[in-house]
């Protein structure tokens, strides 16, 4: 064993490792959200009336709109990934910006929904129904907030020209995260608001 041989591995190999790490990370979050949905299921199965007749009803329109907002945001982000891969660099910054803006709109609409329901008298200490609603939507919103922060950072890097067709791993990783968060919202919308 003579001299040290530091040979760095090909970029693709390093990127796969990061990708695997992100997949496992999201697997953990999937288990946590899964457990929360399980909790929701158990609490709802026990309840005699769901929703309780004396509490304000959950709106369908605004959250439904929010679903579309998040879906559009994911689409914008995925477009950014596509354009990075095919080398159309000038379009990337704006696409990331659109994704970011839509994410922010989602959070804003969520806050509107919460404050209007709060004013109508729905608060967490009102029993299992509002407990589930606030716990799940707030916890999800925290994840959206983290994603929005990441998107802001990615946007900044894109406009500073830090990405190229060969180097855009962070965008791919956060895209995975963002799609996951969007998918969780989809399930949440169906199970909490619709059903």
């Amino acid at each position: 064993m003579g001299a040290i041989v530091p040979y760095p591995p090909p970029r693709a190999r390093q990127e796969w490792t990061a990708y695997l790490g992100m997949v496992i990370f999201l697997g953990s979050w999937a288990m946590m959200f899964g457990a929360l949905f399980f909790a929701y299921g158990m609490v709802r199965a026990r309840a005699t009336a769901w929703p309780p007749p004396d509490l304000p009803e959950l709106p369908l329109l605004l959250p439904g709109l929010n679903t579309l907002v998040l879906a559009a945001s994911s689409a914008a982000l995925q477009l950014a990934v596509h354009w990075l891969r095919s080398g159309k660099l000038p379009r990337v910054g704006p696409a990331l910006g659109a994704s970011l803006a839509l994410g922010a709109v989602f959070l804003a609409l969520q806050m509107v929904t919460w404050s209007s329901l709060w004013d109508e008298g729905l608060n967490p200490s009102g029993g299992p129904y509002p407990s589930v609603f606030y716990a799940l939507t707030c916890f999800h919103a925290v994840h959206v907030l983290v994603g929005v922060g990441a998107l802001a950072w990615l946007c900044r890097c894109a406009f500073l020209g830090k990405y190229s067709a060969a180097r855009f791993l962070p965008v791919r990783l956060w895209a995975l995260y963002w799609h996951f968060v969007g998918a969780v919202w989809g399930v949440m919308y169906l199970t909490i608001y619709v059903v």
């Binding site: 899964g34 909790a39 609490v43 299992p128």
Partner: protein
């Protein structure tokens, strides 16, 4: 040929010893932090044993300082906090950092031929996140109503504001959440590292059992600690924000929540957790009995499959903790069936260990003694599990000291002895020095004998119907005659605790002034023993090419050509340049 980038070695003191990204440094950090809290958890156990031996009497030496309002005697509320924190500290803040934090970090990259973990910065963050959780635990003892007191299992509604008001319980639940985050960070690292950074030729079946145990543990951690996270999150919401996930009975609003929900979420984590705590020792033992019997690990593939089967089944047996909650009998029946089935892979593992040592050339070194001790206590403890996994016998034994004896033997004793096996074994490589072997042997005999006596005492008490978590068991007429048994168990416990001084003295003395260790003092073929003791920052100058498994002992061809009973995983036999075993294709 794939190799790994070498990070430049850090130069500042802070980067070298405090915020280091070197897995070997982080391993030592986890080891120190874990050993400190092991002592803390052990001290709490001594308080429990004191109370059962001499109920209501002031605790000597520390009593007047700790229990000022009661003249030095333990009060019912402090007792509840003591047994709660004993359990939580031992599981999350002692055994986990020692076995998974320290040995996971140290062994995985070295044994698979990697230069570091896949995500070194994440590794560093996981240690410091863990430290934050330890600080939360310490703070919880100083708040007004004391620390958490609802049992380590933290069942609701007792653990909600209904049963346990105050900041202490909240802080501890938060500490558990934070340590869970640290564990997941570590788990992501371990899983990715094993998948992606194995040296060429290091197929999965050529990995040492230690790596298998730690890898399977990491997979279970990554999947099930989040479920604990959700249980803890909902509990904090119930405690601090007035939600009603777990509240029922007279405090319920609009029907309230479901206390059993907590038990489901907790045990879906909790049962895999006990396998998380035992898989690394199983891995160590599988390797160590082969290493020190100088024989290949018997049916290694079977052992690996058994460990994998146990991991897969671990989540579907959890209901055996809930047989008397009033669950649907058919559901109970399914859990019982699966629990009985999960005993089969464990049986297989035992048979393989016993066959490994049979017709070997056994070297009773300190690590080998601890490995054999682990087999002994886990055998005893595992067999007692049969009574608890069966519904009708569990109706009597549930929540008695029989359960406590069972899980202490399987989880505490086996992990305790297994951790020491690992410490004595890898100490030369970790610290570059030797531990005193005769002190080690004293440590082993005292620990193994007295740990067995203490927990057998608990099994006997439980058999007589003695419930757990009682401040004063002798309130019950049917338990009064057990006071001598409890007292003797306590004496054995005190001796067990006192005898740990043999380890403490040995460890400190060896770390700072032990004799210099050779490169391969145990004559083992796994990759870490090809490096200097301790290894340099980047581990391997050249990433090795692996030719065979880790248990190639007493191979006649090796004896003929090399004149010894072992051969390294990456060694080439001189004559033909090929390995005795057919080399597999490159890794992954």
């Amino acid at each position: 040929m794939d190799l790994q980038h070498i990070h430049p070695e850090p130069t500042s003191f802070v980067r070298k010893h405090i915020f280091s990204t070197d897995h070997k440094v982080i391993a030592k950090q986890f080891l120190w932090a874990g050993l400190l809290f092991l002592a803390f958890g052990g001290a709490l156990a001594m308080l429990i044993r004191w109370q059962w031996a001499f109920p209501g009497e002031p605790v000597p030496v520390v009593g007047p300082m700790l229990f000022q309002n009661s003249g030095g005697a333990i009060t019912p509320s402090s007792y509840n906090a003591i047994f709660t924190m004993h359990g939580l500290i031992m599981i999350f803040f002692a055994i986990t950092p020692i076995m998974i934090g320290a040995f996971g970090n140290f062994c995985i990259p070295l044994m698979i031929g990697a230069r570091d973990m896949a995500f070194p910065t994440l590794n560093m963050l996981s240690f410091w996140t863990f430290v934050v959780s330890q600080l939360l635990v310490i703070v919880s003892f100083f708040v007004q109503l004391g620390s958490a007191a609802a049992g380590w299992t933290t069942y609701a509604p007792l653990s909600t504001q209904v049963g346990t008001p105050g900041l202490g319980q909240t802080l501890v639940v938060a500490a558990v959440f934070v340590t869970g985050v640290a564990t997941i960070m570590g788990g992501i690292n371990y899983v990715t590292t094993v998948v992606r950074l194995r040296a060429p030729g290091m197929t999965y079946m050529r990995m040492p059992a230690t790596v298998w145990g730690l890898w399977l543990t990491a997979i279970l951690n990554v999947l099930f600690v989040p479920v604990l996270g959700s249980a803890a999150l909902l509990l904090i919401l119930d405690r601090q924000f007035g939600t009603q996930f777990y509240i029922a009975g007279s405090s319920a609003v609009r029907g309230g929540g479901d206390p059993i929900l907590f038990q489901h979420l907790f045990w879906i984590f909790g049962h895999p957790e006990v396998y998380i705590l035992i898989l690394p020792p199983w891995g160590f033992v599988t390797d160590l009995v082969s290493f020190f019997a100088r024989k290949p690990a018997y049916w290694y593939k079977g052992s690996v499959m058994a460990m994998t089967a146990v991991s897969v089944l671990s989540a579907v047996v959890y209901g055996h903790h809930m047989f008397v909650t009033g669950m649907n009998p058919m559901l109970g029946q399914s859990f019982m069936t699966l629990t009985l089935i999960i005993s089969v892979p464990a049986e297989l593992l035992f048979l393989n260990w016993l066959h490994t040592i049979w017709k070997g050339s056994i070297r009773l070194t300190v690590p080998m003694l601890f490995a054999l001790g682990t087999i002994f206590v886990f055998g005893l403890g595992g067999l007692t599990g049969l009574f608890l996994g069966t519904i009708s016998t569990d109706l009597y034994l549930h929540d008695t000291m029989f359960v406590v004896g069972h899980f202490h033997l399987t989880m505490a004793a086996a992990a305790f002895l297994g951790s020491f096996a690992a410490i004595y074994f890898w100490f030369p490589k970790m610290f570059g020095r030797n531990m005193n072997q005769s002190l080690g042997k004293w440590h082993f005999w005292f620990s193994a004998i007295f740990i067995t006596l203490v927990f057998c005492g608990q099994l006997v008490a439980g058999y007589a119907g003695h419930q757990r978590r009682l401040f004063d068991p002798y309130q019950y007429t049917f338990l009064q005659h057990l006071q001598p048994l409890n007292r003797w168990t306590s004496y054995f416990g005190f001796i067990l605790a006192a005898s740990q001084v043999t380890f403490v003295v040995n460890f400190f003395q060896s770390v700072f002034a032990g004799t210099k260790a050779e490169q391969n003092p145990w004559e083992i073929g796994t990759l870490e023993w090809t490096l200097p003791s301790p290894p340099v920052h980047h581990n391997f100058d050249v990433i090795p090419q692996v030719h065979r498994g880790p248990h190639e002992f007493s191979n006649p061809e090796v004896k003929k050509t090399l004149g010894r009973d072992w051969i390294g995983q990456d060694e080439e036999l001189p004559k033909t340049g090929k390995a005795p075993a057919a080399p597999a294709a490159a890794a992954s």
